[in-house]
């Protein structure tokens, strides 16, 4: 990404920080190469997570997002492709094919931000996770997965809200985990889900 797009991104993220704070609550900084997975309640979530990352890490991190949303309209496409460097996923493709762009980005050394619920939810706690996170990491047992919880964003900008409310949102980052103990899909996904819920209840972070 060139400096001109980086500048636009950092200006946008500075605006996000003015509106919702986006301060970080973490015992330790996330690993340099990692997949950050988080609950998802608003269109601002991607920006809030990016805003919460230190600058060097931000430059190595690409958000994963639905192609159908980010390709709709010139401004969104510009933001996704130029400013945020989004890894586009085709939600209709499903299965292994949908994960190919993610695997490619990981192999190129990028960190990723994913929302494993697959859609926005209107509540404090995340809904069930889709299986992508499991399939992505099954063949990468050493890959660090960092759970994240976005506070308050379900109140800041619920579905259909035209403007974000200026409530303060903290980003809680947990200890990273791995998919390296041969768990089956359900056991791994429920462990990942529980990690986000624990952050929501303020157990792991603070």
């Amino acid at each position: 990404m060139n400096w001109f797009f980086q500048l636009q991104r950092d200006a946008l993220l500075a605006l996000v920080r003015v509106i919702v704070g986006a301060s970080v609550l973490a015992r330790q900084a996330p690993p340099a190469h990692t997949v950050i997975f988080s609950n998802h309640t608003s269109h601002l979530d991607t920006l809030v997570l990016l805003a919460a990352l230190p600058h060097a890490q931000r430059n190595r991190t690409r958000p994963v997002a639905a192609a159908d949303y980010w390709n709709a309209g010139t401004i969104r496409r510009y933001m996704a492709r130029r400013i945020l460097n989004v890894v586009m996923v085709d939600r209709s493709a499903g299965g292994a094919a949908a994960l190919v762009p993610l695997e490619k980005a990981l192999d190129e050394g990028w960190s990723l931000i994913v929302f494993p619920e697959g859609t926005r939810r209107q509540e404090r706690l995340p809904g069930p996770f889709k299986t992508g996170l499991f399939h992505l990491t099954k063949t990468r047992p050493a890959l660090a997965l960092t759970p994240a919880y976005l506070e308050n964003m379900y109140r800041v900008m619920p579905k259909g809200a035209p403007l974000p409310l200026p409530l303060l949102c903290r980003v809680r980052l947990g200890e990273s985990m791995r998919n390296d103990s041969g768990e089956d899909k359900d056991a791994f996904l429920s462990r990942a889900h529980a990690a986000v819920c624990e952050l929501a209840d303020g157990k792991a972070a603070a």
Partner: protein, 309 residues
């Protein structure tokens, strides 16, 4: 700029210089290892910032002053409603609180429209927010949510806005000097807080309100409150009041301020927090500094309006 305004500016400067010198001496003596002293110095540094912003705004005129107070209201409301457990169905009530109540309340002050300023929030915003709440179709703890939002708006917007409200009054024999009276009010409110803290730290023994605000003591309240009241009397030169009247008015500011501080401590504790926020180093949030303003400003405003206009 009047002579009185310059004089109180110099007084404020003097107090801050002395406070910083004392803070520095304590820092040297404790070698930076005392949390109390470090917090004291963080507070003093933040006081420099707040004094420069407030005094600068008042120097630049009523419009800038209103903008600064509007911003402070918004920051306080944000801290309050971040802690208050509203739900996603409260989006439109909160939208009205942030984007309708605050701008209009301060624009009304800018227009010097006293009649609507006085009733806008208790009449119109009270209705609008309640209607929006009811229309959101979520009855889960409806009454608590609606009441929380209305209380937050009364405190952070209605209460706070009455401090700069002083600027729109036509005070007899005091034309063009309203800003001095605003300064008087803010100075006494904050000085009372500071002196209660200092007296409490030096002489505090008997807890005033162990459950609500464990650090407050009777010695702090009486010593700090009475000192601030007497200093208020001495500052009558920047008010339309005589010495004794200024003392009585300062006593009103001190009493309402202390009780208002207690009310908001109780609210804060019921929401499970120690500080309202972390945006002002050493102090907590905006609400931690505005708590004693919120209940005393409207009473002070109406005393001045009733007897001196």
């Amino acid at each position: 700029m009047s002579e009185g305004f310059v004089a109180i500016g110099l007084l404020l400067l003097g107090i801050l210089v002395v406070a910083s010198a004392i803070g520095y001496a304590l820092h040297l003596r404790s070698e930076g290892r005392s949390d109390t002293v470090n917090n004291l110095n963080a507070r003093i540094r933040a006081w420099w910032g707040m004094a420069v912003v407030m005094f600068g705004a008042m120097l630049l005129g009523p419009t800038v002053t209103l903008v600064v107070f509007g911003f402070a209201s918004a920051m306080a409301l944000r801290e309050f409603l971040t802690l208050a457990p509203t739900r996603q169905a409260d989006y439109w009530p909160l939208f009205i609180a942030f984007f309708v109540a605050i701008p209009i309340q301060y624009v009304l002050l800018g227009m010097k429209w006293y009649g609507l300023f006085a009733v806008f929030i208790p009449v119109y915003i009270f209705g609008l927010i309640s209607f929006a709440s009811a229309l959101s179709q979520d009855t889960e703890s409806f009454f608590q949510r609606n009441a929380m939002i209305l209380f937050a708006v009364m405190v952070c917007v209605y209460g706070v806005s009455h401090a700069p409200g002083i600027l729109i009054l036509d005070i007899r024999g005091f034309a063009g000097r309203n800003v001095e009276l605003l300064f008087f009010f803010l100075f006494i409110v904050q000085l009372s807080d500071v002196l209660q803290y200092v007296f409490g730290k030096l002489f505090g023994k008997h807890k005033l309100s162990p459950k609500v605000s464990p650090s407050k003591t009777w010695e702090g309240l009486v010593g700090g409150g009475l000192s601030a009241t007497l200093i208020g009397g001495a500052l009558h030169v920047v008010t339309p009041f005589s010495f004794w009247v200024a003392t009585a008015v300062a006593l009103q500011i001190v009493v309402c301020g202390a009780l208002g501080g207690l009310v908001l401590s109780a609210v804060k504790r019921s929401l499970g927090a120690k500080d309202w926020g972390s945006s002002i180093a050493g102090h907590g949030g905006f609400m931690d500094r505005l708590d004693s303003v919120t209940f005393s400003a409207p009473v002070f405003f109406h005393i001045v309006r009733y007897f001196w206009t």
